[in-house]
């Protein structure tokens, strides 16, 4: 692995802009790093040729004196974000052969910013899972300890960044899929406010919860990528057309208030993680921030609410994979029903099937009121609780996940154990708020611990500032 791949995005961007290194050299180095670490399973598809073309174009632009926020910098894109001409599989057998005819809005933004897209990052199939073991192609391994899970569903995006196979990446977060793998691999992941980044071209899992966001090795790089991809898109009806920068850039914690909601620190919380968080909270307090106690009374409802709403939307969103139009079709089908049954049986993995069945159940006639409708009401309550809690502070602080990265295969027989791992992240998606995960220490096995900062709508700047101050001065466990 060449040293240059270990530089930060900001550094390599400077080097390329100043002509100290070419994008072609950087891209080659990154492609080499990808090859060396193939066994980590970070990528589904590596676009070596295209990347080199983009790198040459970037070098030409540099030579012409042009500049752009990501000019010549190799970036990874999660494989559920459409890339024109490059297959987008969602780590599913169903879309093994699917080549989108269009670029996602964020991919257009990346290209316009001069980024070199090196590959499509591996993930849990259709973003359903929190270990990236549900990829139909290969398991993703943790960048810190390859015997452990990298988290998910954006496991490939986090591992690619943590193991120097890209300077930054895009992930998607429906219930924690950016923050939890960022936490497990010791990198920074931002889930923006719902509607701050266009979902146009993001293959839908749960439309009302999905958000695309950046993963990077430090806060500043995360901010750079976020600034590139955010923005209104008339092609996404839920995209926000107002001011996306309601937060503030600051370097002093004076006058800042950080909320601690007791529900995020249950009695059974892992002691090492609690200690790491307490230390981080103390850092903020020692440096001038006021710590306020608050509460999210509806916290207990969030997990059930999430699995009902997300599965309901998923069941509908995934119905288009029917073996008729694109993607794969099972062989030897004699009737229409056989095409549906055989294709969906053969090409969807177990976890996806489980969610489809769950979603169909909660939407079915006679059960809708008891499940979907009640979950929708719970959602309103949860939003309100967060609004109230955030009214008195700049951000809430809590663990990103209740555990550090666990051993591969350890959840094999117990799906609810994995679902419980989302307990601190899903409430944020339900409330549509921005949240960021940044490393705040390591456990006894040397595994990264993540802390989560949850902010007010469109106050990503505030979260990034709080995280950056901590990153520069915070003492680790």
């Amino acid at each position: 692995m060449k040293d240059m791949v270990k530089k930060s995005l900001a550094e390599i961007k400077e080097d390329i802009a100043a002509g100290r290194v070419s994008s072609v050299e950087v891209t080659e180095a990154v492609l080499e790093s990808i090859k060396e670490q193939e066994d980590l399973g970070a990528y589904v598809t590596v676009c070596a040729e295209r990347a080199m073309e983009e790198a040459r174009a970037a070098d030409k632009a540099v030579a012409e004196g042009k500049s752009a926020p990501l000019l010549g910098v190799p970036i990874a894109v999660k494989d559920n974000i459409c890339t024109e001409g490059v297959r987008t599989t969602c780590a599913s057998k169903f879309l093994e052969n699917y080549i989108p005819p269009y670029d996602a809005f964020v991919v257009k933004k990346l290209k316009a910013a001069g980024a070199v897209i090196v590959g499509k990052a591996n993930m849990d199939e259709f973003a359903m899972g929190s270990t990236s073991e549900f990829s139909a192609y290969k398991v993703v391994k943790n960048a810190v300890d390859p015997t452990r899970v990298p988290g998910g569903s954006s496991g490939g995006s986090a591992v690619a960044v943590a193991s120097y196979q890209a300077y930054a990446s895009l992930g998607s977060d429906t219930g924690g899929s950016i923050r939890q793998p960022a936490s497990f691999n010791g990198v920074v992941g931002l889930k923006p406010t719902y509607s701050a980044v266009s979902r146009n071209g993001l293959v839908a899992f749960a439309s009302s919860l999905d958000q695309i966001g950046p993963i990077a090795r430090n806060v500043a790089d995360c901010r750079t990528v976020y600034d590139v991809i955010k923005g209104h898109d008339a092609g996404d009806s839920t995209s926000y057309a107002g001011d996306l920068d309601k937060g503030a850039d600051f370097t002093s914690l004076k006058g800042r208030k950080i909320g601690v909601a007791k529900e995020f620190f249950p009695a059974a919380l892992n002691a090492t993680i609690r200690a790491a968080l307490e230390k981080a909270i103390k850092f903020y307090e020692d440096n001038g921030a006021e710590i306020v106690e608050t509460s999210i009374g509806s916290f207990d409802m969030a997990l059930a609410c999430y699995y009902i709403l997300s599965s309901a939307e998923a069941t509908s969103n995934l119905s288009r994979y029917d073996g008729i139009k694109y993607g794969r079709r099972a062989e030897g089908c004699k009737t229409l029903d056989e095409i549906y049954y055989k294709s969906r049986t053969e090409f969807f993995g177990a976890e996806v099937k489980r969610r489809i069945m769950l979603g169909n159940f909660v939407l079915s006639s006679g059960y809708y009121d008891a499940f979907y409708l009640r979950a929708s009401k719970a959602r309103t309550l949860i939003k309100k609780d967060f609004d109230n809690a955030l009214a008195g502070c700049d951000a809430l602080i809590c663990p990103t996940a209740p555990t550090t990265a666990y051993k591969l295969g350890s959840n094999a027989g117990d799906t609810t154990a994995a679902y419980l791992g989302d307990v601190f992240t899903v409430p944020v998606n339900i409330a549509g708020l921005p949240a960021l995960s940044v490393n705040c220490g390591y456990d006894g096995d040397g595994l990264p611990i993540g802390m989560q900062l949850i902010g007010k709508p469109y106050c990503e700047k505030t979260l990034l500032s709080l995280a950056e101050i901590y990153e520069k001065g915070g003492e680790r466990v």
């Binding site: 879309l95 439309s207 009806s237 839920t238 309901a312 069941t315 939407l363 809708y368």
Partner: protein
């Protein structure tokens, strides 16, 4: 035993004539080659998102205003989930519990009586594609996917095929007058589902069946008649009508069951998370209402009461909005109402009717028509040559009637002095017939008129000519 009464409710699907589809920028056109009028959005590719066509919302609201519906200030979208190859997303974006328009009613005449049918709602939804079967192979054409459809649901207020068809005709006319749909049956732009049950007077309604997707007024009539007959036979023989969805085969004239209530699909409706609710202000609705043109029934009444036309003429002139607009425009531009009515009904409708097609093609503007009628009125041209002028102006809105008359050289010679000179010459050249007239033979007058017309190539005002010849022969 007493006669059964049929109770009928309709669900009418009507394509809106917006320029683009409901959720993407593909053109809303009929007849393109299969799968050429599609994009990733309407073909249901992974990752695509819908963007609502505001015009389609406006058209639906306009239709609702025309029918006296209550317009929802807040309305939302829902997904109706089911698998079928013509539905690429595997859900139809529709409106489930909060439609755009609620209530309203349509009043029309059926067999000489006035009848009112209440509407339950009008909502907006997207059309699906089309399966094309050939041999043992089925292909799908997605061109029609995403075409905006209004679904109008009536209350069960109809009791016969006559009423149902008269209602549909009136509804189609309202939509055509409102400019929201062409309601062309053969292009499938208006289709109906028939809900029908039988009961004896005073008894509760019987079990209903739903006959789906009838795409002509004729099949609606035939399907209703066949279903009344079938249900009567079932009941008469002591059987029970089964609640089911039925299909009507236009070729055989019979219906058959497709699926019973037990097999009914569970559409698992839920709110569409990819679209924002539609919020309309009072001002939005007032603006749309203000744009609404005068509808057929109102115009027909006005033609009789204000313009003094016969009811028959009024109904002819209002048969299509294009004709009524032409007529109104001509009257507004100064034409005499009765003369304009006669001319429109004879000349324009003859020319505008294209055999076998719905609707009519109008090739002149109301200003052109008024001008033409004024030229006839002033005696500048006669009725026969007005047809040539009409031909010349047809589909040529920049051509003025006066200019066309001159270009065709059709202007009548009304110069009495010049005509007198010609007549004197003709009399001088035909002393025999002139003497016959003087001896009392009136018939030779037409000989002299004919000679004059020949000499002037038909451009002499025949009234002036006749009088002049008589006077000069009598000198």
């Amino acid at each position: 035993m007493s006669e059964y009464i049929a109770t009928i409710g309709l669900e009418v699907h009507c394509e809106l004539k917006t320029e683009t589809k409901l959720f993407c920028s593909c053109r809303n056109v009929f007849g393109a080659a299969p799968n050429t009028n599609t994009c990733p959005v309407c073909a249901g590719h992974p990752g695509v998102l819908p963007v609502i066509n505001r015009k389609a919302v406006e058209y639906t609201v306009r239709a609702g205003c025309a029918i006296g519906c209550e317009i929802s200030r807040f309305s939302k979208w829902d997904r109706k989930n089911y698998f079928y190859p013509d539905l690429p997303k595997a859900w139809q974006t529709s409106q489930y519990d909060l439609p755009l328009c609620i209530g309203g009613s349509v009043t029309f005449d059926v067999n000489g009586e006035e009848k009112t049918v209440r509407l339950n709602r009008i909502h907006l939804e997207e059309d699906a594609g089309k399966l094309v079967h050939s041999g043992n192979c089925t292909t799908v054409d997605y061109n029609r996917c995403g075409v905006p459809l209004m679904e109008c649901v009536t209350e069960p207020d109809m009791h016969s095929a006559d009423e149902a068809v008269a209602f549909l005709e009136e509804l189609a006319s309202i939509f055509r007058y409102s400019g929201v749909s062409d309601c062309r049956m053969q292009e499938g732009s208006i289709r109906a589902d028939v809900n029908l049950s039988l009961s004896r007077p005073g008894e509760p309604l019987g079990t209903r069946t739903e006959t789906k997707n009838l795409n002509s007024f004729r099949s609606v009539r035939r399907a209703i008649e066949a279903e009344i007959k079938r249900q009567t036979e079932v009941l008469e023989s002591g059987g029970k009508v089964v609640q089911e969805t039925r299909h009507f085969d236009d070729n055989t004239g019979t219906g058959y069951g497709m699926r019973s209530k037990e097999d009914a699909q569970d559409y698992r409706y839920f709110p569409e998370p990819d679209l924002m609710p539609v919020v309309l202000s009072d001002a939005d609705i007032e603006r749309i209402k203000a744009d609404l043109p005068e509808l057929k029934r109102a115009r027909r009444k006005r033609y009789v009461s204000e313009l003094g036309l016969s009811d028959y003429d009024a109904s002819q002139l209002t048969s299509e909005p294009e004709i009524a607009d032409l007529f109104d425009g001509a009257v507004k531009a100064g034409a005499n109402a009765k003369k304009a009515a006669n001319y429109v009904m004879s000349e324009i409708m003859r020319k505008g009717k294209t055999a076998g097609e719905d609707g009519i093609a109008i090739g002149v503007t109301s200003v052109q028509l008024a001008e033409l009628l004024s030229l006839v009125d002033k005696g500048e041209i006669n009725l026969v040559s007005s047809r040539d002028v009409l031909d010349k102006m047809w589909l040529n809105p920049n051509e003025s009637a006066a200019k066309a008359v001159d270009e065709l050289g059709l202007r009548q010679n009304n110069d009495a002095g010049e005509i007198e000179k010609l007549v004197r010459e003709i009399i001088a050249a035909n002393p025999g017939p002139a003497n016959d007239f003087r001896n009392g033979n009136e018939k030779v007058l037409s000989f002299f008129v004919g000679q004059l017309m020949k000499a002037t190539k038909g451009k002499t005002n025949p009234k002036i000519a006749g009088e002049l010849i008589r006077r000069l022969l009598s000198e």
